[in-house]
């Protein structure tokens, strides 16, 4: 037990900061995912065949390829791709991207594919009359989306978004392969130096369980808040 203590003798404080890192990556990735969903949901719902194709390709490819492979591609291929773009503009120095940014973007793109599907489903299940009523009242498209469709969509999407959040949170463990010190990486380091992998990996599992449990509680409260009046 003293291995898990705070301070110099134990790994408690290291694991605490690692947990904060996991939360930071998960939240950043989730927000990046929302950004992607905001771009790709309209594409998936579009009547234009070409735009539709782009939207469908994004969700199909990302959801059909292992998360680990996407992370490897970003980690090993990311700096190469950026250096290639930079070389077009006449910059030939070595560019290294921060592991936090690579990881968050990679997980964010994955999370975005799931969020896109959730938003698409939520918008499609809104009553058609709502769109028509807004049209009849002469509400502009912009106001229609932000004041009428978006709030209703959010209510329908929250239960499924909580699933996306759980997937995203668990996917952050894969970033450990890039060397970013989050729960999994810190446990790996601690397990290696104390030769006690069983304790540290079990403790990592407990930390993840705590995170999923606490976030579920939080999301349930959000769900109640947005379901007012229904």
């Amino acid at each position: 037990m003293e291995l898990l203590a705070f301070g110099k003798t134990g790994w408690g404080d290291e694991l605490f900061y690692a947990t904060l890192m996991t939360i930071a990556v998960a939240v950043t990735a989730m927000l990046i995912g929302f950004l992607f969903a905001l771009i790709f949901t309209p594409l998936k719902l579009s009547n234009n065949k070409f735009l539709n194709f782009i939207g469908n390709t994004y969700t199909t490819v990302i959801r059909g390829v292992p998360e680990l492979l996407v992370i490897y591609l970003f980690f090993f291929g990311g700096s190469g791709a950026i250096m290639y773009v930079a070389s077009i503009f006449g910059y030939f120095e070595y560019i290294e991207i921060n592991a936090f940014i690579t990881g968050s973007v990679a997980i964010g793109i994955i999370s975005g594919a799931y969020s896109t599907e959730v938003f698409r489903g939520a918008i499609q299940s809104i009553d058609k009359g709502q769109f028509e009523a807004a049209k009849v009242l002469g509400v502009s498209k912009f106001v229609q989306f932000y004041k009428i469709i978006f709030p209703q969509m959010l209510r329908l999407a929250i239960p499924n978004l909580s699933n996306v959040w759980q997937i995203t949170l668990k996917d952050t463990s894969l970033i450990s392969v890039t060397g970013l010190v989050e729960i999994m990486r810190q446990s790996y380091i601690a397990a290696g130096s104390t030769r006690d992998p069983l304790l540290f990996y079990c403790f990592a599992a407990v930390l993840y369980l705590m995170l999923t449990f606490l976030s579920m509680k939080l999301i349930n409260r959000l769900e109640v808040k947005y379901s007012r009046g229904f």
Binding site: T60, G64, L69, F76, G77, G80, S176, L198
Partner: protein, 224 residues
């Protein structure tokens, strides 16, 4: 783009796909048994047994698969008495450790899928069986189980695809599946884009096949 490299690495990746498929099928078969067992335990009237089954699925669904593999592969080897039992023959092999972790993981998800399928069977179907004087054993085998299997097909198809993607984690415990081989090629050629895109293409193709097989089965066994 280095197309020569892509052509030379394709056979290597395809032979690695055999390992991915072996891992997938072994863990799905064992996982199906585990899932069925825990779905039945979950529906048990004894609250202690159903809580136990719930705890199992909560534990495995609430933690990342990577942690589960590491606990089984690195963690269990640490227990002294386990090393002297026959279990050690299995647990010292990364291949079997990966399959055990995948099977336990997919078993937890499968138990949830089967449980909800059993719970959403329309009571009218079972009542109809009872009123026709069919014994409850036959109702279970000839009505409840087939209907539950049909209802859980779409969700189980998703689970198969998730598990196929999950097998890529076997590469973290030194196994040479598609991801493992791709990473090995990249570490010797420094051409990440070509190799990882090719590996991704193989995975995507497998997803496509699984998706269509499930769709075919859904259509074949639809209620209409």
């Amino acid at each position: 783009m280095d197309f020569d490299l892509m052509i030379t690495s394709l056979p290597k990746l395809l032979s690695a796909a055999v390992i991915t498929l072996k891992l997938l099928s072994a863990s799905l078969i064992i996982g199906l048994f585990i899932g069925f067992l825990f779905a039945v335990l979950r529906l048990n009237k004894n609250p202690f047994i159903s809580k136990f089954a719930y705890g199992y699925s909560y534990l495995f669904r609430g933690t990342p698969l990577l942690v589960q593999i590491f606990i089984i592969y690195y963690g269990l080897g640490q227990i002294e008495w386990l090393r002297s039992t026959f279990l050690w023959v299995i647990l010292k092999e990364p291949y079997w450790c990966a399959i055990i972790a995948f099977a336990l993981n997919t078993g937890a998800y499968t138990s949830e899928i089967l449980r909800s399928a059993f719970q959403t069977i329309k009571p009218g179907i079972i009542e109809a069986g009872k009123s026709l004087g069919i014994s409850s054993k036959i109702i279970l085998y000839k009505i409840q189980i087939p209907v539950a299997i049909r209802q859980s097909l779409p969700a189980y198809g998703n689970e198969i695809i998730l598990m196929m993607k999950g097998t890529s984690l076997a590469s973290t415990v030194t196994l040479m599946d598609i991801t493992g081989v791709a990473k090995h090629i990249v570490s010797t050629t420094y051409k990440p884009l070509e190799v990882f895109l090719l590996a991704g293409g193989i995975y995507l193709f497998m997803t496509f096949i699984i998706h269509n097989v499930i769709k075919y089965l859904e259509k074949k066994y639809s209620f209409q």
